[in-house]
Symmetry: C2
Subunit: 389 residues, 2 copies
Amino acid sequence: MDYLQQTFTVQFQYKVYFTSHLFTSTNPVFRSFLLDNEQEGVVKKILFVVDKEVTRFHPMLKEQIVEYINTIPSYKLATIITISGGEEAKNNEEYFFKVINAVNRFGIDRHSLVVGIGGGSVLDMTGYASAIAHRGIKHVRIPTTVLSQNDSGVGVKNGVNYLGKKNFLGTFAPPVAVFNDFHFLTTLSERDWRSGIAEAVKVALIKDADFFCWLEENAAGMIAGDKDAMQYQIRRCAELHLQHIAKGDPFEIHSARPLDFGHWCAHKLEQLSDFTIRHGEAVAIGIALDCAYSYLTGRLDEVPLKRILNLLQELGFKLIHPLIEMDTTQHLLLQGLTDFQEHLGGRLSITLLNDIGEGEEVHEMNSDCIVAASHWLQDYCITAQRQTA
Amino acid sequence: MDYLQQTFTVQFQYKVYFTSHLFTSTNPVFRSFLLDNEQEGVVKKILFVVDKEVTRFHPMLKEQIVEYINTIPSYKLATIITISGGEEAKNNEEYFFKVINAVNRFGIDRHSLVVGIGGGSVLDMTGYASAIAHRGIKHVRIPTTVLSQNDSGVGVKNGVNYLGKKNFLGTFAPPVAVFNDFHFLTTLSERDWRSGIAEAVKVALIKDADFFCWLEENAAGMIAGDKDAMQYQIRRCAELHLQHIAKGDPFEIHSARPLDFGHWCAHKLEQLSDFTIRHGEAVAIGIALDCAYSYLTGRLDEVPLKRILNLLQELGFKLIHPLIEMDTTQHLLLQGLTDFQEHLGGRLSITLLNDIGEGEEVHEMNSDCIVAASHWLQDYCITAQRQTA
Ligand SMILES: NC(=O)c1ccc[n+]([C@@H]2O[C@H](COP(=O)([O-])OP(=O)(O)OC[C@H]3O[C@@H](n4cnc5c(N)ncnc54)[C@H](O)[C@@H]3O)[C@@H](O)[C@H]2O)c1
Ligand SMILES: NC(=O)c1ccc[n+]([C@@H]2O[C@H](COP(=O)([O-])OP(=O)(O)OC[C@H]3O[C@@H](n4cnc5c(N)ncnc54)[C@H](O)[C@@H]3O)[C@@H](O)[C@H]2O)c1
Ligand SMILES: [Zn+2]
Ligand SMILES: [Zn+2]
């Protein structure tokens, strides 16, 4: 057979910074990043895309950005556009086109920067638009929710929803830098403060038993507003995610996706609830269900199972939800397995749990056992409620 | 400063096969590729996207594809969609959505294949749609023009036009395999047979003086239909492009783009002519103009310059065009420099020629010299015409 073999590797690098009050004039972090990326003889343009909720809670932010960028001669602020936060940013293509049209109107090029500031939804959409405009404009992420600081914002994926399917369009496109500004988190609703911690439970369960113990010890504190504990949680969770991406299969060329533990169910719950359930809330339920499944199929012992369910409940997650009462809607939830397989492609790959800190990949789940697990979980939670009452 | 450093590399691999009559039942090349990529327990789906002109000239193709795929149990033909060829495929978003909607309707997943068959335009659009559906479906290219077999089809870029700008949306996404089937080329129009050879002249000029001599010796033969010569030209040109991509900066993270020699002008000519000028035809003019500029600015000697212009003319390229008569439209053509800079971003980077086989990157071009070069080129061609007459 006559052929030419092509082989090459591409290296990707970025830093995830931890700071607070990023755009205060005295904070050097963002400025030093910009100066490190100066290019002789070129004034680089920056386009900001900001979550509307963030500007609502931080009304001085825009002004601070204008002043901050104005002090750096090698950069020019193109404009700041604001867009609706939450899943709306990914569902409504109007926002995507707002970014694409700004890229065109302001002559944003491949040496410019697009900076997204917001929750995971705004960052996913902004990252996607940046990745495909001019075949990829450099993209900076400034996540403003716990979930996006400890998980989605530090990774390499982006996307928007299309034809009613989550992340139907998207790419793998690493950011050039991520800035986790803790101050933004202080204005989160109680729900969003809590919600992202589910991803820490997830990654601890499959990768790091010590971190799981730490979470048990600090759950009450974090929920009560302990900022030091919250910062540690974010940093450790981000670190575990980064390590996993770097050591594994960053662009998911193969099927295994251990970081998607609990997610086949979570994605379906989000969709079935019309995105009224938060991603982290859905992940908490998904973890609980897959742990109950692991327990009922003899993989996970009762003691670790109960520790896991207790931790999730202590973090304030509701593990009962009408959508997982399987008698009425089992066909709907089970469809989540098929959707998940289709999104991954090929063989089903699901992570189940053998012990705290020890996941295992399987390629099949038994529908009857899933239904049984959901019943067991609902019963367990109702009994637990009664006992506390 | 407090940060986590993320670093990883991703390896990309694909083969570029050379064959003829790919879907004849006795041709093993495509079958063996599919069998090498089987996955146990999975029947992979294949979606074909075919250039309408190709099916018009090869009316048995669809039937052959159906039969060919049917003999392989581990694969299933999802469907074959046909779309308009030429720049229309990239200009009209209807075709893009046709592919995306087929991905949805037929449940094409990340382990399926999308196979594009057609000229560079159909491949660019199909590659783009595949790259963003489900964050990237594996994509096979079967280029059917000289240009796409020796250049665009073997590389890593894709894209569509948007807001009237060429390749405004696109990604870098290597195919999983390329099949150069020589038989397709036999039905090309004289224009498209000739047009792609401009890319061979381009790459020879900046990378390989011996190949340039070979082109001089074989120009008349190729134009007269010498298939062996044409096949050698394609193979060598593809090889030089592949080497350049692998050794250089595959995803063009930096500004230098030597393979874009002659292209700042070419892209603008295509756009100004509303895509009635073929890409290769525009590249031939772009090369001539940048060589004349290199000559007038003292970089390139007269002898190599005349060899270059002679070769282009012997290949049948017209180097005179109303759009480069600078007196009337100079501002329009010069805008090509700005567009090019914007698409690349940052500093202007243009390759000029010091000698045959030796390009050099510059960061500035003088508008007056460009205008002078265009006048010089028009005069030269008119004189040459008179002498032949
Ligand atoms: N790309 C990935 O790898 C990845 C991974 C996990 C999740 N995700 C995606 O991330 C999204 C969820 O992200 P999320 O949990 O950050 O939620 P979100 O982005 O939907 O934000 C939740 C709400 O908080 C608001 N908000 C954001 N920052 C705020 C602040 N500082 N103060 C007050 N309100 C604020 C938002 O406007 C929104 O209303 C989902 O679409 C999910 O699919 C992506
Ligand atoms: N991705 C890249 O790296 C890259 C590089 C260079 C050029 N390009 C792009 O490629 C496109 C040009 O590609 P092209 O020169 O192949 O032209 P094309 O795709 O526009 O095709 C030219 C014409 O030939 C027809 N055709 C195709 N195959 C045929 C066959 N076998 N027999 C008869 N007719 C056939 C097409 O329908 C069309 O009408 C441009 O959009 C250009 O920007 C991309
Ligand atoms: Zn998640
Ligand atoms: Zn070209």
